[in-house]
């Protein structure tokens, strides 16, 4: 921020800014030089901020009417749906909002994987992002428990039971998590407390995520370092603000369609049956956004190893900046990586599919192969690829292809054929 020598125009503004430089901060945010070639995959950062705020605001209203008690939680949700003014709207926004949040975060993560946004000097942004993602999963899982339906109850039972795989202390930890000898009222009240807390932790981490982003500045589809500010950049306001706004509106149309026309399609019907500790549902499945990890968990025959595999699948992402040995960021100039990238996308989708299916026969076999490939991609393919791959020549600047006559015209042409802009 120090590079901006910003002085407020008004006398009061100057007086205030000398004491608390909020206006300098605002000026930094509006002037923030952003690469002008960012494509629409980059708009999901703003969309995610919108998702977080939507979840917090609707969640606050829901918390005013919800009762965190095993005997009353289900009833209070129905009370919200029927008798609270627009309670159905607020709850459907919150429930579908969780899915939209994950949809956006997966696009955001896979964008980062494609364009190498996790590489130096942006490792800290990436790691904070992974922590946010972990907290999102925790918040979503606990939120799903709150309506106290059958899937809530049994999902909570399955997931908390994973801790029993820890040798020696496992059982003790599970009892401690439950606050009793089974998932019951104490479990519900603590999940509610944590579900309320975590979004604010996420909010704090989002501030750090953006702060860490504003130090090196945005990566871009070409993946090269650029001069800031320069011909290659535009000020955040109005250029990026309006573009993010446009993308956000398109996202909201999809969001609205779910909320108003198919509000229950992303949930499981069993969650409209009140929790019953004596009746186990035929299939216990998590929400769609956790399915790939659920598939990894179930593909390992040993419980402890399964839990380790599932957690490793997430934590391995944090090591990605060091596992990927290639100096080139953008997959646009990495012909081989580009192919492996799409195989990974397919692999994760397959994992998600088999995660929803019963863990038996062919499904189990597919889940095992896909799990093995997932780890292979990060532990073997990426480190080797960095040394073996013949990358395409990268342009010197974003504007260079337009100027023409550069030594890297071939690359520039290639870039155009890929339709980056």
């Amino acid at each position: 921020m120090s590079e901006h020598q910003y002085t407020p125009k008004s006398k009061f503004g100057k007086w205030f800014n000398d004491r608390l430089p909020l206006l300098t901060l605002a000026n930094h945010l509006t002037d923030y030089p952003t690469p002008k070639n960012l494509n629409y995959w980059w708009t999901f950062g703003g969309i995610l901020t919108f998702c977080l705020i939507t979840q917090i605001v609707t969640g606050l209203v829901l918390a005013m009417h919800y009762i965190a008690h095993a005997d009353m939680a289900f009833d209070s949700v129905e009370h919200i749906m029927r008798d609270v003014n627009y309670g159905w709207l607020i709850r459907y926004i919150h429930a579908n909002g969780a899915s939209m949040f994950f949809l956006a975060v997966y696009i955001h993560i896979f964008r980062s994987l494609f364009y190498g946004s996790y590489k130096a000097p942006r490792e800290i942004i990436w790691i904070i992002g992974i922590i946010i993602y972990l907290l999102m999963m925790a918040a979503a899982f606990m939120g799903y428990v709150l309506p106290w339906g059958q899937m809530s109850f049994w999902g909570a039972t399955v997931i908390t039971n994973l801790f029993s795989a820890i040798p020696l202390v496992g059982e003790g930890i599970v009892t401690w998590l439950w606050g009793g000898y089974s998932v019951d009222n104490p479990t519900l009240t603590r999940f509610f407390t944590l579900h309320y807390l975590i979004p604010f932790l996420i909010l704090g981490l989002v501030v750090l995520h953006i702060w860490a982003l504003h130090v090196p500045g945005n990566n871009n589809p070409v993946g090269i370092d650029i001069q800031k500010p320069s011909k290659d950049t535009v000020p955040f306001h109005p250029y990026i603000v309006i573009k993010d706004g446009f993308a956000l509106l398109m996202f909201m149309i999809v969001f609205a369609f779910f909320v108003f026309y198919t509000p229950n399609i992303l949930g499981h019907a069993d969650n409209y049956i009140e929790a019953n500790p004596l009746v186990t549902p035929a299939h216990i499945v998590p929400e769609w956004y956790l399915l790939p990890f659920y598939a990894i968990l179930r593909s390992v025959p040993d419980k402890l190893l399964g839990v380790i595999a599932m957690l490793s699948a997430i934590f391995i992402l944090a090591a990605l900046p060091w596992l990927d040995t290639s100096k080139i960021r953008s997959a646009v100039f990495r012909p081989l990586y580009r192919q492996f990238y799409w195989i990974l996308v397919a692999d994760v989708l397959i994992l998600g599919y088999v995660g929803a299916m019963p863990a038996e026969g062919l499904y189990l076999l597919i889940a095992r192969v896909a799990t093995a490939y997932y780890f292979l991609h990060f532990l073997v393919v990426l480190p080797i690829l960095g040394f073996k791959e013949k990358t395409l020549p990268i342009p010197l600047s974003i504007t260079e292809p337009i100027l023409g006559g550069s030594p890297n015209l071939a690359a520039a042409k290639n870039k155009e054929s890929l339709n980056i802009k």
């Binding site: 002008k36 070639n37 494509n39 629409y40 995959w41 009833d75 129905e78 749906m81 029927r82 159905w88 709207l89 459907y92 949809l103 696009i107 535009v234 109005p238 250029y239 309006i242 573009k243 706004g245 446009f246 509106l249 398109m250 909201m252 149309i253 609205a256 369609f257 909320v259 108003f260 026309y261 509000p263 229950n264 399609i265 992303l266 019907a269 069993d270 409209y272 049956i273 035929a282 299939h283 499945v285 769609w288 399915l291 989708l349 998600g352 599919y353 929803a356 299916m357 337009i402 890929l418 339709n419 802009k421």
Partner: protein, 259 residues
């Protein structure tokens, strides 16, 4: 932009397939035209009123509807009985109230603010009266079953003689749409079982459709306002998106880069 939309649509489609398979069991349910489906879907008022009649005369002797109150029957977007009719319906039920000043429980005629009277005192009593099976509460039943309205509609008409080789215990019936085909509820509907006030012929098919419509409303009492608001919200968003698109084009025209 085109590239982006292409990949986005493709991924969305793939996810869609995934969700579709996630919805699980592929049974061909009986189909009928539901008036409440689609962008402008509304309940058929007469069907809701007939459905309520089927519920009270047939289902309610075993199935509770604990989240509904008699006032709901007169509310907008529902069966829309007149307030006098809803009051009369409520008054036809005996409601347990109390304790009074002497500390005694007493019964009185129902009021609009009362919840639907439960057929049994508690779950145990319900099970005892039904051969150990608990007739599920019907308030959100449609949303609590994978196939939704089509499933309930089919189930009501799905009773048949068991195929050769299928043995049924005492008090268990064969239904081709039930999960596992064994159901503890016997076939409840037969042609002409209820006498509709509006002269509609009470066939099994008609009653199934009416009562399922009623159950859909019971589970989603705000469905009509949801559809109305949804249409307005989406039209509003589309217009705003178009306006913002042109503003964006205008702003970005100051520099050479396309958006």
């Amino acid at each position: 932009m085109k590239n982006f939309l292409g990949i986005f649509t493709l991924t969305a489609l793939l996810l869609g397939f995934q969700l579709n398979s996630y919805a699980a069991e592929k049974v061909e349910y009986l189909k009928t035209d539901w008036s409440f489906k689609g962008l402008f879907g509304k309940f058929d008022r007469a069907a809701l009123q007939r459905g309520y009649q089927v519920y009270t005369e047939v289902c309610s002797s075993c199935h509770s509807m604990k989240y509904l109150s008699y006032r709901n029957l007169a509310e907008k977007g529902g069966p829309e009985f007149s307030e006098a009719q809803a009051k009369a319906i409520a008054a036809s039920f005996e409601v347990k109230d109390g304790p009074n000043a002497d500390g005694d429980m007493f019964t009185r005629p129902g009021k609009l603010s009362d919840k639907f009277v439960m057929p049994y005192e508690n779950v145990k009593a319900a099970q005892a009266a039904n051969g150990g099976a608990y007739p599920p509460d019907m308030s959100v039943l449609v949303k609590a079953r994978g196939g939704g309205v089509d499933y309930i509609y089919s189930l009501l008409q799905g009773y048949e003689d068991p195929p050769a080789g299928v043995k049924l215990d005492e008090g268990v019936y064969y239904n081709k749409y039930m999960y596992g085909n064994k159901i503890k509820m016997s076939n409840q509907l037969s042609d002409g079982l209820v006498e509709y006030g509006d002269g509609t012929n009470a066939t099994v098919e008609q009653m199934s459709k009416d009562v399922t419509t009623f159950l859909m409303w019971a589970a989603e009492p705000h469905l009509e306002s949801r559809h109305r608001m949804g249409f307005k919200a989406i039209v509003y968003l589309i217009i705003l998106t178009i306006l913002v698109y042109f503003s964006m084009k205008r702003i970005w025209s100051r520099i050479e880069t396309k958006v």
